[in-house]
Every structure is written in structure tokens, then in C-alpha cells.
């Protein structure tokens, strides 16, 4: 978890990221090179192009024409965009805390030194590997379908959960919560870093389990919580596959699963509206950057960096 260490150091500002001396950097650059080459040759070009296309009317077939800020003005009155923003926000606000809660709860359980820990850790991590895949989204369709597993277990007939606009988004939220493995593994690593002597000292002073959790675990784990929170919020904003597969690409029923990225995709590739789609991509970047900035600012009040 060197990323966390890095994050902690950056926050403290005592040692800069280059503080380790020049010799270490050479190796770092070598390891970074493949990724950097990919960024430069595969990602950077399209990123720059999409920025320019955001100010054009571009239908994928004819050359783009500049239309100034028209795309951005259009966002103000685009009802489906507002709907997509609402759906995405609910998804982020509900599913991220639930997911992190589940991850932390299981990490605490596993940290107790269970027998067969490696097995449980892998078992709980598995959904994270599968979660954003097409296969699991297809499986979800089956589970929550009208003739699906849930209805068979509950003995319900004549309603589908994914095809009902009141429940469709919740099935996706459950799917996201289920993929708590990645933050869980990070939590586990964080819990291992907390020195045992703190708990021993607290126990000697007569602190109960709850007090220990509240006064030792939570503060010392807070940088990890913060790290997971930032990552999972960004991740949730960018969710696409689940909604695409579960709704058959429509974001339906009646736009109840219209994730932001799904709407962007529809405009770009379904409506040949690539200029507007590019502008939407940049708006998403601004939104995510803004929320992340707020997150970092708020961290001052609750994240504890211990030396």
C-alpha cells in the first residue's frame, strides 16, 4: 500500500515525494514507462481531441464545426442530462457509504485472526474482480428478473425488479455494495499497520472494545478511510458497464438507471452527437474534480495523520 504512504507523506508535507533521493527515481521511471507511453500515445491524444470537440458540432461522419459554448449552454436545458445527474448522484451517495461500511465491517472481522483468513479474504475479494464485468451484470438481470432467483425465493410473481423504475437503480446499488472487496483489502492492510501496543495500553487503562474502536481504530484508520472514499466516489461516478448491460443500453425503465456515462455514450454513439458528448465528458471531469477537492478540504477536519 505504498500509495497510502505516499498520500500520507504528501498530506504532511514534511517530506516531498522526491525526498528519497535521485537514485530511487530511476527505477520508478523505468516501471512507470509502459504506463506513461500508453498515456502519451493512446490516451493523451483523444483527451486533447475531446476537449476541442467539446466546442464543436460533430456528428462522427462530417468534419466538426465550431459552435462556441453552444454545447455547454444546452446542458442547462437538457432534461435528460439533469435526470442522469440525479440518478448518478443517488447512486454515489447511497452506494459508496454502504459499500465502505460493508468493507470495513468485514475487514474488522477478518482482522481478528480467523483461521483460513487467506481463503475468506479471497472469497470476499472475488466479487470485486467480477463486479464490473458484463457476465455479472447479465447474472444480475437473471437474479432480479420477473422469473429470477429473488422472485422464486420470495414466491413473488408478475413483477420484475430491474424493469420497474422504482427498484431498478437499487439493484445496481446492491451490485456495487457487493463489490466491496477492493476497499476491504485496503482496510485490512490499514488495520495491520495499527500497532498492537496501543490496544494493549488501552486495555490496561480499562477501555472497552467500543472505546478502543472509537479512539484508536477509527482515528488511525482515517487516512485509509479517506483514501477509499476518494477512490470509490470517483469509481462510482464513472460506473457504466452495469447500467449498460442491465438496462440493455437504454438507461431504462423510464431513465431510472441512466448513469451519466451511459447518457454520454448514448449521445455520442447513439445520436451521432459527439461534440455534445465530448462536452459532457469534460463536465463530468469538472464535477469529479470538484467533489474530490471538497473531499480533500473536508479531510482536514476528520482525517488524523499519526507520526
Amino acid at each position: 500500500m505504498s500509495a497510502i504512504g505516499e498520500l500520507q507523506r504528501m498530506r504532511k508535507g514534511s517530506r516531498g515525494p522526491l525526498g528519497g533521493g535521485r537514485r530511487d527515481n530511476k527505477a520508478a521511471f523505468v516501471f512507470l514507462a509502459p504506463w506513461f507511453a500508453g498515456l502519451l500515445f493512446i490516451t493523451a491524444g483523444p483527451i486533447a481531441a475531446s476537449f476541442v470537440l467539446g466546442f464543436t458540432d460533430y456528428n462522427l461522419i462530417q468534419p466538426p464545426t465550431f459552435n462556441g459554448l453552444d454545447n455547454f449552454a444546452r446542458m442547462l436545458t437538457d432534461a435528460r442530462l439533469h435526470k442522469a445527474l440525479g440518478v448518478t448522484l443517488i447512486y454515489v451517495v447511497v452506494s459508496v457509504p454502504l459499500q465502505l461500511g460493508a468493507a470495513l465491517g468485514l475487514a474488522l472481522l477478518l482482522d481478528k485472526g480467523l483461521r483460513g483468513l487467506a481463503f475468506y479474504r479471497s472469497a470476499f475479494y472475488l466479487p470485486s474482480l467480477l463486479g464490473s464485468s458484463v457476465a455479472v451484470a447479465v447474472l444480475w438481470r437473471q437474479i432480479f428478473g420477473a422469473d429470477g432467483l429473488i422472485n422464486q425465493l420470495l414466491g413473488i410473481e408478475g413483477r420484475g425488479w430491474i424493469s420497474d423504475p422504482d427498484t431498478a437503480l437499487w439493484t445496481l446499488i446492491i451490485l456495487n455494495v457487493w463489490t466491496f472487496g477492493a476497499p476491504m483489502v485496503i482496510f485490512l492492510a490499514g488495520l495491520r499497520q495499527i500497532p498492537r501496543m496501543y490496544y494493549e495500553a488501552a486495555a490496561t487503562d480499562g477501555a472497552g472494545k467500543w472505546t478502543q474502536f472509537r479512539s484508536i481504530t477509527i482515528p488511525l484508520l482515517s487516512p485509509i478511510v479517506f483514501f477509499n472514499l476518494v477512490l470509490q466516489i470517483i469509481h462510482a461516478f464513472q460506473s457504466f458497464t452495469q447500467a449498460f448491460v442491465v438496462s440493455g443500453g437504454t438507461g431504462g425503465p423510464s431513465d431510472s438507471t441512466l448513469f451519466y456515462t451511459l447518457y454520454l455514450y448514448q449521445r455520442g454513439f447513439g445520436n451521432f452527437d459527439m461534440g455534445y458528448a465530448s462536452a459532457l465528458a469534460w463536465l463530468l471531469l469538472v464535477i469529479i474534480a470538484g467533489i474530490t477537492a471538497v473531499n480533500f478540504w473536508a479531510a482536514k477536519f476528520w482525517v488524523v495523520y499519526d507520526d
Binding site: 481531441a49 431504462g252 425503465p253 423510464s254
Partner: protein, 426 residues
């Protein structure tokens, strides 16, 4: 800044280049590779590959590479390849997207390839369905017409008389559907659904003497016609003639094999007549094509011939002559037709239609006969540029109505506004 400018230049260069004008209009002696893309199910892929093999045997220097997909991913993938200047040479096209591609210059005017592509055996009215702004951008492959598919086994089972379709109304359909639903006790409903495709909506609008689009490509349907349409759709669901909304929605997005007709859970359903054979195979029941309701009461005939699909050629093809030759083979060769039969609709080519008739199966014959005996009005205008998402917009508004999130009136107004905005934005 320099990088931005560079990227910009790249983008513009990419999209501006190549109109295919310089490509040779003569057949080449050298090896030529054509790419051919279509959507469809397994059966179509098998048959199409056989046709390709036949063509390659006849023209050994031409290789045809098939790229086939499911309908759902087809259009995204086509849009991406066209944008990347990597469009397949021969494209299976649909009425919904024809204008969008033709008006943006992505398709070859087939009139320029008439040396190798003959259209003499097509009716002018059929050919006209492939004309956009005066040019033949696409050649219709097959024709289809909207129909009601009735599961006669289910009617027999519940001892309900099959409705007389010679003069029945939408009210009659609702009544008999209600009877079946009551007899079916929740397992079987009388009618599958309405409000999830452009065909059904077009029929409703045309029967009211209106049309969805006017000649100039503007949305022309009066809101009250759509209000009556969605009121009817809602009543069907409320009375239990169609399944509960969430079940209907789930089925509407599933494949043909999971439909109410295929699973023997809907006694009546709307389909294109050419789907009869697939449905009969999937359901294992006896199915019969009925006339669409409301025709006797209608101001003007609702029924029309819809081109099931078209052949079109990319405007950027390097081999327009060979591409035309291949389309000619698909459209005019009896050998090819004997393999394809009615998989892509009842052939629009009249000579071919006669030639393959003796080889058809029982249900294929029934479908062809239904088409020949349907009284139709002039076909609706080709879906205008920008409106290719028509079906998605219809579906979404039906969902809003079924779940009482919008009244039929609200849906009608909102539908017209959104569709017109899409057309204006294109």
C-alpha cells in the same frame, strides 16, 4: 497548446478525408477484399456465409469478409467504424438510420454503380423506399408488414373463439384479450404489449389519417392522436389484457425467444409478418397471422410495406465496382436467394420472390401470402435524419405512462418535443 492544435488538425484531417471519388469504377483483376457487415441471429450468419462462399467461388479474386453482430451493438459499432474512416464496404442498413447516414455523406449513390448493380426486377415503389434526397442510397432487401400473431393452440385450450379479423377494431382486440387473460389466470395474457416499437405507433397514427413525419421531415402527428394511443396502451395494462408493466418491459427488451408469443404466455401479439417462422419454431405452437385491428374503422389504411432492411455501400469504399457486384449478387441471384429464402424478409425483388416460393416452408408461405393479400397505403416517409432513436423514445414514454409517471397527454407533448429537438439538432 501546440499539442492541442496538433490533435485538432488530426481530428479534422481524419474526418475530412476520403469521399471515394477516386476509387475505380471498373472491376479489378487483382485480389480485392470487401468487408460486409450485417446484424442478425445465428441462422442468418450461417446462411449469409454460404452466400459469401458462393460469390467467392464465382469471382475468385474477390474475398468477402463478413462482420456480423447483434442488432443492439450493431449501430454503435457502425458509427464508430464510419467515424474512424474504417467503414465496411457493404452495409446492411435499416430504415431508421438510412437518412442519418445518407444525408451525412456516408453512403454511395448506387445510381453511380448501375453498371454492375441491376434493379430492373424491383417495383418502383419498393426502390423509392431507398431514395433519400433524390438519390438511390440503398436497395431494399425484403418487405414486411405489421401483423397480429395469434396462438391458436391457446385459443383452443381456453375454448375461446378466434376473433374474426376481417373487420375487427382495437376495442374487439381488448375484449377478446380480456377474455383470454381471465381464462389464463395470470399465467397467460390475451395480448403481449403495445407501445414498444415504431411499427405499432405508425399504424395507429396512419389509421387516424395522420402521419408521424411530414414530407419535409418534421414531426407532424397531432398530440391528440398520440394521447389516444397511450391511453389505449395504459388501459390494456390496467385491465390486465397485457401483463404487469414490469413484466412487459422486461420482455420488450429481451430476445424473440423470450417473448410472450415464443413462451406461449400471450395469445395475441404484434409482430412483423416475416417473424412468423422464427416464432413458430420457438413456441412449438400453431400460430396464425391475423389482420391488424382498426383497419375497417380507419380514416385511411394503417398497414404499409416496410423494407425489412437495405443493402448500401460505403461512400469511402476503395472498390465500388466489386461492392456493387456483390450487392447485385445478393439482390438478383437466384442461387443466393435459394439459400437466404425469407430470412431477410419476403424478397422485394419480384422475380426472386416467385422463384423461391416453391421452396418455402409452410409458415414462410403463410407469411408471404399474408404480405401479398394485405391492403396497404403508401409507405411512411423514411425516418428523417436525427430521428434514428425513435424507438427508444417511444419505449421510454410508454414506460412513463405504464408506471403513471406521465399521463398520456403529457407523454404525447413530451414525445413530440423531444423527437423534433433530435431532428433539429442533427
Amino acid at each position: 497548446m501546440r499539442r492541442t492544435a496538433l490533435a485538432m488538425a488530426a481530428v479534422f484531417a481524419l474526418s475530412a478525408c476520403g469521399s471515394g471519388g477516386s476509387a475505380s469504377q471498373e472491376l479489378s483483376k487483382d485480389p480485392v477484399t470487401l468487408r460486409f457487415t450485417w446484424w442478425g441471429a445465428d441462422e442468418r450468419h450461417k446462411r449469409t456465409q454460404q452466400v459469401i462462399d458462393l460469390f467467392e467461388k464465382k469471382y475468385p479474386n474477390v474475398t468477402v469478409k463478413g462482420e456480423f453482430k447483434d442488432w443492439n451493438g450493431y449501430w454503435e459499432s457502425l458509427a464508430t467504424t464510419v467515424a474512424a474512416n474504417d467503414a465496411p464496404d457493404i452495409i446492411q442498413m435499416d430504415e431508421l438510420y438510412l437518412s442519418s447516414y445518407a444525408e451525412r455523406g456516408a453512403l454511395l449513390d448506387l445510381g453511380t454503380a448501375s453498371k454492375y448493380l441491376k434493379t430492373a426486377d424491383f417495383d418502383k415503389s419498393a426502390l423509392d423506399t431507398g431514395v433519400v434526397k433524390g438519390k438511390q442510397y440503398a436497395l431494399p432487401v425484403g418487405l414486411a408488414t405489421y401483423a397480429i400473431v395469434a396462438n391458436t393452440d391457446l385459443f383452443d385450450k381456453f375454448k375461446i373463439k378466434l376473433p374474426d379479423d376481417s373487420a375487427w377494431s382495437w376495442e374487439d382486440l381488448k375484449k377478446v384479450g380480456d377474455e383470454v387473460s381471465k381464462a389464463g389466470g395470470g399465467k397467460v395474457t390475451g395480448f403481449q404489449s403495445l407501445g414498444f416499437d415504431a411499427g405499432g405507433m405508425n399504424i395507429w397514427i396512419r389509421q387516424a389519417g395522420a402521419s408521424l413525419f411530414d414530407e419535409s421531415g418534421k414531426v407532424a402527428v397531432p398530440p391528440e392522436v398520440l394521447t389516444s394511443y397511450w391511453t389505449y396502451v395504459r388501459d390494456l395494462a390496467k385491465q390486465g389484457v397485457t401483463p404487469p408493466p414490469s413484466v412487459t418491459i422486461e420482455r420488450a427488451s429481451a430476445s424473440l425467444d423470450q417473448s410472450g408469443t415464443a413462451t406461449n404466455t400471450s395469445a395475441l401479439a404484434t409482430w412483423w409478418n416475416t417473424q412468423l417462422s422464427s416464432l413458430a419454431t420457438a413456441s412449438g405452437s400453431k400460430l396464425k397471422l391475423l389482420r391488424i385491428p382498426g383497419e375497417a374503422q380507419a380514416t385511411s389504411p394503417g398497414a404499409y410495406f416496410k423494407p425489412s432492411m437495405y443493402w448500401s455501400v460505403s461512400s469511402r469504399t476503395q472498390h465500388p465496382a466489386e461492392a456493387a457486384l456483390f450487392v447485385d449478387f445478393l439482390a438478383n441471384s437466384e442461387e443466393a436467394a435459394n439459400i437466404m429464402l425469407t430470412d431477410r424478409g419476403v424478397p422485394a425483388n419480384k422475380k426472386i420472390r416467385t422463384a423461391i416460393t416453391p421452396k418455402l416452408t409452410e409458415t414462410d408461405k403463410a407469411a408471404a401470402e399474408y404480405l401479398d393479400t394485405t391492403k396497404v397505403g403508401p409507405a411512411p416517409r423514411v425516418t428523417p435524419n436525427g430521428a434514428s432513436n425513435l424507438e427508444a423514445i417511444i419505449k421510454r414514454h410508454t414506460e412513463e405512462v405504464l408506471f403513471d409517471r406521465q399521463t398520456p397527454e403529457q407523454a404525447a407533448t413530451s414525445f413530440i418535443a423531444e423527437l423534433q429537438a433530435e431532428i433539429d439538432g442533427a
